[in-house]
C-alpha cells in the first residue's frame, strides 16, 4: 500500500476503534485542561512564548558555533562527544560504545530521536537486551508498537489493555494476581524494571536540551527513570539531535518554564536533571564514562529552507493535544514517528514527501496548534508549504487545472460576478427545499461526511450593493 493510501486506511481503522476513541476522549480533560490551568496561573506565559521563540531562533542562526562550544565544554567535563550525519551512523556509534563496554543489558529512557533512527531495533539485532524504562515506552515495547504520542507513547491504551500485556509478558509472576488497578500495574512494572536498572552496563537517555555554556544535557521526566538510567550503569550515553542545543543555562530556564506547562499541564515535571560529564573524582556513584552522540539526520538541510522554524520545536506535544484531527485519529494513523501538526510538518522533511507529504492534508487549518505552540512555530503556514509542494507534483494535474481556472475567474470581476450570481442562484433554488446538500458533484469527498449548507440565492456583492443603496439617502 502507498503511504497516502495507508494513511486513509489508518484513519478509517482509528475512527472505528472504540477503545482508541475512549482513550482519545480523555485528552481534553487531561493535557488540554491542565495546560489551560497552569497558563492561567502564570500571567507571563504569553510573553514567555515570545522569549522562547527568540532563544530558539538565535540558537538556530548560530547553531554550528553553539554546537562547537557544547563539544568543548562537555569534553572539558570529561564526556566524549560523537557526531553522526545520519541515523545509521548514530546507531553504529552507540553499538560500538555498548560493545566496548561489554554490555548485555542496556536500559533506555524515552527519546524521540532514538525512535526516529530505529536505535532499539539496531541494538536488538546485535543481540543486546534493550529495555525501555519509561513506563509508556515499556508498554509499547512489549506490545511491539510504536509511540502514538511524543510525550505519552501509550496514550492509545487503557488500563485493561496493559493488564493483558503484563500477564502475557510477565509469565513468571502469579497468574492469579489482581491487576485491575493502575497502581498494581505500575508496581509490577517497577519491580520488573528495577532489576534491569541494577544489571544494565549501559544506560541511554535522550536530552531535552544541551547547554553550550556548560556542556550539560538536560533531561526531563516524571518517573525518575532517566535518572536511574544515567546513574546506575557504568556507561551513560546521551543521544540528541543537533537542534537540541541552547546557548546558556539562562536560556534553558525560560524554555523549561514553557515545556512542562505546555506538555502535561504541570508547572514543572517531577525530575529535571542537568547532567555534566561522568563521575567526578571523589564521587561514590554515577557512571565511569559519559558519551554524547549528536545526530543531524536531515536537519541541517532545513536550516536554509522555509522550514527552519520547525527546528525551534521543544517536543512538548501541545500541538497534537489541541489538534482536532489528532484527537480524532490518534498517533498511529499518521504512520510517522512524529504525529500531529508537528509531524505533518517535520515528517515530510525528514522522511521525504513521497513517504509523508500527504500528512499536511491532515489538518483543518484551524490554527489551535499555532496558538498553543510554546515557541510560536507557524505550523499552519508550514503545512501549507507542503500542500503547495504537493500541488506542484505531477499527480496533482486536476487540482492544478481547477485552481488555475479559479484564479483566472477571480482575477476578472466582470466574468466572476455573473458566474458567481448564476452559481448562487442555481444552488439556492436547488437547495431551497432542504436548506442543505447531502451530495454535490466534484465535492463528494466533502459531502460524504457532512452536508453543505445551501446558499440563499444571491451573492455577497449583490447583497452588499443593495444594502448600500438602501442606507444611502
Amino acid at each position: 500500500m502507498k503511504p497516502a493510501a495507508a494513511f486513509e486506511a489508518g484513519i478509517a481503522a482509528a475512527l472505528a476503534n472504540p477503545s482508541l476513541q475512549a482513550a482519545l476522549a480523555d485528552v481534553p480533560a487531561g493535557f488540554v485542561a491542565g495546560r489551560a490551568r497552569v497558563k492561567a496561573a502564570l500571567p507571563e506565559f504569553e510573553a514567555l512564548r515570545r522569549t522562547g521563540r527568540d532563544i530558539r531562533d538565535h540558537t538556530l542562526a548560530h547553531l554550528d558555533l553553539y554546537l562547537e562550544a557544547f563539544e568543548r565544554n562537555a569534553e572539558r567535563a570529561g564526556a566524549r562527544v560523537h557526531w553522526a550525519a545520519t541515523g545509521a551512523e548514530a546507531c553504529d556509534i552507540i553499538l560500538d560504545i555498548c560493545r566496548e563496554a561489554g554490555a548485555r543489558v542496556v536500559t533506555k529512557s524515552k527519546s524521540m530521536v532514538s525512535e526516529e533512527i530505529g536505535l532499539r531495533a539496531r541494538l536488538e539485532a546485535a543481540a543486546l537486551d534493550v529495555v525501555e524504562t519509561d513506563l509508556g515506552e515499556y508498554i509499547i515495547q512489549i506490545r511491539g508498537e510504536t509511540p502514538s504520542h511524543i510525550i505519552a507513547p501509550a496514550i492509545h491504551l487503557r488500563a485493561g489493555d496493559v493488564a493483558d500485556d503484563f500477564r502475557r509478558r510477565h509469565a513468571h509472576l502469579d497468574a492469579a494476581r489482581d491487576l485491575s488497578a493502575a497502581e498494581a500495574l505500575v508496581g509490577e512494572a517497577r519491580g520488573v524494571l528495577r532489576e534491569k536498572f541494577l544489571t544494565a552496563e549501559v544506560g541511554i537517555t535522550g536530552a531535552n536540551f544541551l547547554v553550550a555554556e556548560t556542556g550539560s544535557a538536560i533531561v526531563v521526566t516524571n518517573e525518575g527513570n532517566a535518572d536511574l538510567t544515567m546513574s546506575l550503569p557504568k556507561v551513560h550515553i546521551v543521544l540528541a539531535s543537533i537542534d537540541k542545543v541552547v546557548p546558556t543555562l539562562n536560556d534553558a530556564w525560560p524554555l523549561l518554564r514553557l515545556l512542562a506547562r505546555s506538555a502535561t499541564g504541570q508547572e514543572f515535571t517531577a525530575y529535571t536533571t542537568l547532567v555534566t560529564g561522568p563521575r567526578r573524582a571523589g564521587d561514590i556513584d554515577g557512571p565511569e564514562a559519559c558519551h554524547v552522540v549528536i545526530v543531524d539526520n536531515g536537519r541541517a538541510d532545513l536550516l536554509r529552507s522555509k522550514l527552519r522554524p520547525v527546528l525551534r520545536c521543544i517536543r512538548c506535544g501541545a500541538c497534537m493535544n489541541h489538534c482536532p484531527v489528532y484527537c480524532a485519529i490518534g498517533g498511529h494513523a499518521y504512520g510517522s514517528v512524529y504525529p500531529g501538526p508537528i509531524g505533518a510538518v517535520l515528517a515530510p522533511a525528514l522522511a521525504g514527501t513521497a513517504q509523508a507529504g500527504h500528512l499536511a492534508q491532515a489538518s483543518t487549518f484551524c490554527g489551535r496548534c499555532e496558538e498553543v505552540c510554546p515557541v510560536e512555530i507557524p505550523l499552519v503556514s508550514l503545512m501549507r508549504h507542503w500542500r503547495e509542494m504537493a500541488i506542484d507534483m505531477p499527480g496533482s494535474r486536476r487540482s492544478r487545472a481547477l485552481l488555475r481556472a479559479w484564479a483566472w475567474l477571480a482575477e476578472r470581476p466582470r466574468a466572476y460576478r455573473p458566474v458567481a450570481a448564476i452559481a448562487a442562484a442555481t444552488l439556492g433554488r436547488l437547495g431551497r427545499a432542504r436548506g442543505k446538500f447531502a451530495a454535490l458533484p466534484f465535492a463528494e469527498r466533502w459531502t460524504r461526511h457532512r452536508d453543505l449548507p445551501a446558499p440563499q440565492g444571491r451573492t455577497f456583492q449583490d447583497l452588499y450593493a443593495r444594502r448600500k443603496r438602501e442606507v444611502a439617502p
Binding site: 550525519a85 546558556t248 539562562n250 525530575y271
Partner: protein, 224 residues
C-alpha cells in the same frame, strides 16, 4: 564521522545568512554574558513570601513537610516520621558535613549508614542546596556529600532544606549551586518537584513509578 562533516553542513547553511565573523562575535558575547530573561512575578517576591509559596506548592504536590527549629531536631523528626508511617527506620546519607554532624545516637530507633544507595535501602537522606519557590522545586547537587542514587533508589527520599536557601527562581538556585562548585556544574544537578509519578496507564497519576514513592522535606527554620 568527524564533527567537520556535520558542522560543515550547518555552517554552509548559516554562513549564507550572515558573515561568520558577526555570528562568532554574537556567540562569544552571549556565552560570556548570558542574557537575563524576565522572571515571572512569582519568582520575585520578598524572602518570607517565597518560603510560604514554596511550602504551599510542596504540599499541593503531595510532599510531606516537616519543620524543625534547628539541625539537632532532625533525627527525632525523621524517627517520628518513619515510625508514624510504619516504615523501616533505616536510612543512608552521604558525607555532607551537616548530616554527618547530626546527633543521630539520640534517636535510638534509627539505623544510619553512610554511602551511595544500595538496592533494598528503604530511605535515602540528602541535603538540598536550594529550594525554588516558583514551582516548589528542590535543587540537589551530586557528589560524595550527597550521592545522586539516594534520591532515586530508595522508596522514601527525605531532603533537608534550610529555609534561608529558598530562592525565587531556577536562575537564583543555579547561582547558589555554581557558587558551591567554584563556578562549575556538579555532575548532576537534580531539580526535584514532588515524588516519582506516571500518567502512562490510562492517564491516571500513580506515584512511585521508578524513583521514590514518597518525598519528605525537612525545613530548617532557624539560623544554622
Amino acid at each position: 564521522m568527524s564533527s567537520e562533516q556535520v558542522l560543515g553542513r550547518i555552517r554552509a547553511a548559516l554562513d549564507h545568512d550572515a558573515p561568520r565573523s558577526a555570528r562568532t562575535a554574537s556567540t562569544v558575547d552571549r556565552l560570556a554574558r548570558p542574557p537575563e530573561h524576565p522572571l515571572p512575578a512569582r519568582a520575585r517576591r520578598p524572602a518570607e513570601e517565597l518560603v510560604h509559596q514554596f511550602v504551599a506548592i510542596q504540599s499541593g504536590l503531595g510532599v510531606d513537610l516537616i519543620e524543625v527549629g534547628s539541625p539537632a531536631d532532625i533525627p527525632p523528626a525523621i524517627e517520628g516520621y518513619l515510625l508514624g508511617l510504619g516504615l523501616a527506620c533505616r536510612l543512608r546519607h552521604g558525607s555532607d558535613p551537616l548530616l554527618v554532624a547530626l546527633p543521630w545516637s539520640a534517636s535510638p530507633h534509627l539505623v544510619v549508614d553512610i554511602g551511595a544507595a544500595r538496592d533494598g535501602d528503604p530511605v535515602g537522606l540528602s541535603r538540598a542546596v536550594a529550594g525554588v519557590a516558583e514551582t516548589g522545586t528542590l535543587a540537589l547537587a551530586s557528589g560524595a556529600d550527597n550521592p545522586v542514587t539516594l534520591g532515586f533508589v530508595p522508596d522514601t527520599h527525605i531532603v533537608v532544606l534550610r529555609a534561608d536557601t529558598i530562592v525565587g527562581s531556577y536562575e537564583a538556585a543555579c547561582a547558589l549551586v555554581r557558587a558551591a562548585f567554584d563556578g562549575a556544574m556538579p555532575r548532576t544537578l537534580n531539580l526535584v518537584t514532588g515524588a516519582s509519578r506516571t500518567g502512562d496507564i490510562g492517564g491516571k497519576i500513580v506515584m512511585g513509578a521508578h524513583g521514590p514513592r514518597r518525598l519528605a522535606v525537612i525545613l530548617i527554620r532557624g539560623v544554622v
